[in-house]
Every structure is written in C-alpha cells, then in structure tokens.
C-alpha cells in the first residue's frame, strides 16, 4: 500500500493504542510549530528521530519516502538567506546572504523535519483503518470518517489499476519517448485508468451490498488502553513538557 508502507510492525509504536498516538501527535505538532528557539527545534528532531528508531523503521526507507519534502527544504535554503535583510555574511555577485536569513532557514528546516518525523512515528505506524476507528472514538462526524476511509480505499484501487496497466504496457516493450505513439498510449492509460477504477469501485460497492451493507460501518477492531500505553503516554507527555520548558527558558535568557 502506498500510504501504509510503515504501518506493519510489532514495535512499541505500532502496538500503542491509536487514540493515544493521536492525542500525542496533535500537541507535539502545535508546540513545535509555535516554538521559536533553535534549541527546541533541534531537540524535537532528536526526539522524533529516536521514536522512528524505536519503531524499527529503516531510516533509509523513511528518508526516501519523504524525499519530495527535502526538495522544499532545499528551496528554502536557496531563497531565504538572500531574501531576508540583515548582517551580511556571504556575497555572491549581486546577492547578499544574511545571518538572519540563514538562521531562519535553519529553524524552519528543523521544525518541519521534526513535524514530519513525528507524523511518521505516530500516524505512519498506524493503519488507516485504525486511524479512522480512533477518530470515531473522538466523535468526529460520521460522514467525514466514511469519506476519509473510502477515498483512501479508492486511491488504492486506482493505484493498483495503474500498476496493472503500466505493467501490461511494459511487458509488451513500451518505453516512453517523445512521439505521437507515446502520447497516445499515455492518453489511453489515463483514460482506461479513470474508466476502470470507476467500474471497479462500482463492483466493490455491489459486493458490499451483497453482504448486507446499508450505509453503516461497524467497527470490528476494539481498542483497549493498556498499562504500557499509559506509561508511553506519560513519558511522551513529560518529554513534550520538557520541550516547552526549553522554549521558555531560551526565550527569557
């Protein structure tokens, strides 16, 4: 599954109650997003990184899956140092880089890296189905939940259709070039993709009807908060307070 690459596993993070993970993820994101100090941001990156290591995910795979994100960071470093006025540190022709700009870019990189890592550690280690279940425990509107779950299902369906069609083209020696044949074939691919996923989703819906579906999802999985979950929650909450405290003392210093 495209989105659930990291969701399978038996580690502490994988087996923690999804409700607890959501409860932790949201405040972590807020605190980090609102923090100003570089120390806080760096500490947050380290904590998030250790969570990822505890969860047993291969760091290489994690970094690879978010490589698009790093392009944005790179863009930041190209733009920010030269566009924020301040004390000049480097000069490239007409461009002047300011130390304020560099610090700003550094702060944003650290903060956003930490947030992305926390999301992977907390939410990426949870199956989407479980997340939807957990959200229902927080009394999110039912319609929103079904919408989330079904869009997720159908994104997967469309993706699988795409893989099938692409492979069908590949095994017959298709290689994209810049010519009419390529454009036409890719046009067919996209057209077929839309039609076939539409028809398949219709058939899946029919299969659901055949098994007595009438507009309600029943939750099969049942969550139970264990003692271990509470310990994890306490430790992570204490760590978050630590981050908050760091932010506070660096501000008054």
């Amino acid at each position: 599954m495209i989105i659930e690459n990291f969701a399978e596993g038996k580690s502490l993070l994988h087996t923690t109650d999804p409700r607890i993970k959501i409860c932790l993820c949201v405040p972590y994101i807020f605190v980090i997003a609102l923090s100003n100090s570089l120390y806080t941001a760096a500490a947050a990156v380290l904590i998030a990184l250790s969570l990822i290591i505890i969860s047993g995910l291969r760091l290489g795979n994690v970094l690879k899956s978010i490589r698009v994100f790093f392009w944005f960071i790179l863009l930041l470093w190209v733009v920010l140092p030269f566009s924020i006025p301040g004390d000049q540190i480097i000069r490239l022709g007409p461009l002047r880089a300011s130390s304020q700009g560099v610090l700003k870019a550094l702060a944003i990189s650290l903060k956003s890296t930490a947030i992305v890592f926390f999301i992977i550690a907390f939410l990426g280690t949870t199956k989407v189905f479980s997340l939807v279940h957990a959200m229902s425990h927080f009394h999110m509107p039912k319609k929103l939940l079904y919408l989330t779950f079904l869009s997720y299902r159908y994104i997967h369906v469309i993706y699988m259709e795409y893989v099938k069609l692409r492979d069908a083209m590949r095994i017959r020696g298709f290689r994209p070039k810049t010519n009419i044949h390529t454009y036409k074939s890719i046009g067919y691919l996209i057209g077929m993709l839309l039609i076939r996923s539409y028809e398949r989703s219709e058939r899946i819906y029919n299969a659901m009807l055949c098994r007595g579906f009438h507009g309600r999802f029943y939750l099969f999985e049942h969550f139970a908060v264990t003692g271990r979950d509470m310990v994890f929650l306490s430790i992570m909450a204490a760590t978050l307070m630590g981050i908050g405290w760091m932010e506070w003392i660096t501000k008054i210093m």
Partner: protein, 220 residues
Amino acid sequence: MDNKDHVIKLDDVWFSYSRERPVLSATNLVLHRGERAALLGSNGSGKSTLFHIIMGLIKPEKGKVTILGKERQQGRDFFEVRQKVGLLFQDSDDQLFCPTVAEDIAFGPLNLGKSREEARDIVKKTLEVLGLEGFDERITYKLSEGEKRLVALGTVLAMEPEVLLLDEPTTGLDKEHTRRFFDIIKSSARSYIIITHDPDLIEQSTTKQFAIKDGRVYKR
C-alpha cells in the same frame, strides 16, 4: 410447478446492456430448495449477468424475479435476498475490500447485526473450516489469487446463506483446495448454482444442469 418450494424463480426475464444486443431474452429458470445446479454457457453468454439480476444488482427490463417465495422488484426488496443468498464474485478482487482478512469476513455478520464477539467467533470458525487458520491479520490485497478466492468464499459463508451463487469458484484453485471447497459448500448450503467449465465438478457436485445460449436458459 408453482408450489412454494422454489428458492429462485425467473419468469420471462429480459435484459440488455446496450440496445443492439440483448444478453437475456425471455429467460426462465427455477431452482428448488435443496437443488445443486450447474450453469453452463460459453464466454459472454450472460451467466454472470444472470447472477447479478438474482441479487438485484442490475434490474431486468421485463419479467418477474421471485426469490425465497417473494416477488422482488425494487432495491429494498433485495435487502433480504442479500442476507440469505450469497454471491461469490467471478473476480475476488471485487469482493475483498477491508484491509485485513478478519475484518473482511466480519463485515457481513456485523451488517446483519451480530455483536463484535459473535463476529469474532464467526471469523475464527470460518477460517478453521477453510483451513486458513492464522490468516486473521493478513492483508487482503497481498494474498495469492487462490488464497483470495478462499477468503472471498469465507466472506460469503460467514453470512450463513441459504442459497449460494458461485461464479467460477474453482478457477485458480489446486486439486486439494478444489476438493476442500466442495466439501465445504456441500455441507454449508443446501441449494446452490455454480458457474463452471470443469466437467468433473459438474459430474461430482451437481444434480441439475442449466445451459444458457442465445439469451435463453435451457434445462439439460
């Protein structure tokens, strides 16, 4: 033949996907309680279409569909049909849609109003019957074709249907699993119609054969 012991009865049913070519024309079919029938016919002759009409997934242009003793016309007439008639789709990928095997098998029973504990028991029992112990947490879309087929059968059996409609159920199954498959359906449902091209199966597990040709169903 109008006694009440038929489970499925089609009278003069017409259906076409497009104007030019009717798929079913003046089709009649009766399945009595306890009958085990095969539905034969060449590719594209309308076998799957016939099943979909019985389940109320598509609506015939004309004709009478009587299932379990009641005439069924509108969408809501078919709610009861879908609880008591189990359809195994030709393509298992259409049937399995929950992430894990356990959830998929539990989906039907939960829709029927079973409690979570009952559903869990049903999942366990069904997997045992199919010889798929330990498959609970397996991811449905990562199973092999044959495994998918068995799990799809499980999702249908979990609803304890009175009648089974099986659309080429044994394609992709090995000998051992084919035998097992038939042991299971023979013991679990009293009536069924099975679409198959396998002469051995027709011989061994059916008592009646229908053939569909040029949009009509013939008894053989």
